[in-house]
Symmetry: D2
Subunit: 124 residues, 4 copies
């Protein structure tokens, strides 16, 4: 049902922020949620995401998504990361859409599209 | 201008994913963007975010947002984290809105709203 | 007994490296232990260490060591971090004692001892 | 000269801890060095270490040590990680040699040496 299960194309960033904020408010966790703790928390969840790929070759990592149970487990970690990133943005009053687009414009200057070769992110 | 600068309330998750995907496609970085490398990259950007709060007390961390230049610098790191998280979701074909909402429902079972006290996230 | 339980003052870095290397060799894990995987592993273990301090105030973090069971739990994570750091050093043929001392000399130039005030690591 | 440049086989863990502690004491950084900040700092330095391997294949990561300037750069990050790990151990009064050996014994129970095959760390 669309009403209860809107997908990415039906959900704004503000709506996602509200999902997380409601959860935090209901539990009265705002006093724990200073930006220092939230940044640490994002790092902790990111490490749990990395753990799924820790011993895999890059090739093995690519096919994780074809195994429904592994894809689900990875999705859980991605959701945890996203929830902390949204909490950080809310706490710092950062508009993610504006900030992301502005950053990508600066990144485009830093890493110009090559004339006919492949850019190498290692040269960052 | 709304057309060029849509905010979080005017931007869907799919639109944000597209911003990142276009950047990656133009630079032909897809071969570097396996989920293992992307998870590492998210961890690296998260560490750069943490760096802004490394030596601050929780109280000092709370007021970073009141200093425009520090808020801008932190926003840059938040944007970098978000861009990698969106890239991971795209690569793994994860719908973030669906996955986040489902995860929050499971989290709500795990951390029920207390009857009249404050839940403590340390008891996770 | 000193023979079975040598302490930090009775143990060289080479001896600690050997403890880890023996463990890896016995399990035939060398093929998994390339520096990329090991750096990821160190980051994962470090996150588990951070988890113990995630929601604590700096003051609460200081007294964790006074609670034997929490100190033991934190020690487990510190040992995991150390084992990966030693494995990285072995794999990359890095002499830790030499490298650490050389780095501290460079750091001393970068952060000179203040004349009578307190240096602030935030100014790094 | 052995006196000024003792290697890993000539340096105890206690001696390395003292190198770091002297540096911290001279700069009066003890008030910043609570275990929460130090664990964050270790995570930040570990991310800088990961950055060297971010876009490399496992095969490319293995030969980083053969390029003196890259090996030096990686060594700097390894030293930074080690300095924070030693600081954490000092702050928490953890004997690293004892703790590491005890942890390896527990790990050996968890990951027994296989009878004639290769153990897989993914099965952790």
């Amino acid at each position: 049902m669309t009403e209860t299960n809107p997908t990415d194309s039906q959900t704004t960033v503000t709506e996602l922020k509200a999902v997380v904020q409601k959860f935090v408010d209901e539990r009265d966790w705002n006093s724990f949620h200073n930006p220092k703790n939230l940044a640490m928390s994002l790092a902790i969840e990111t490490a749990e995401l990395m753990e799924h790929f820790q011993w895999l070759t890059p090739e093995e990592a690519l096919v994780v998504k074809d195994d429904p149970s592994r894809k689900h487990a990875v999705g859980e970690e991605v959701a945890d990361c996203l929830s902390y990133l949204l909490a950080i943005a809310s706490k710092l009053e950062i508009d993610l859409a504006t900030t992301l687009r502005a950053k990508m414009i600066r990144n485009a200057v830093k890493y110009p599209v090559p004339d006919g070769g492949t850019a190498n992110p290692s040269e960052k």
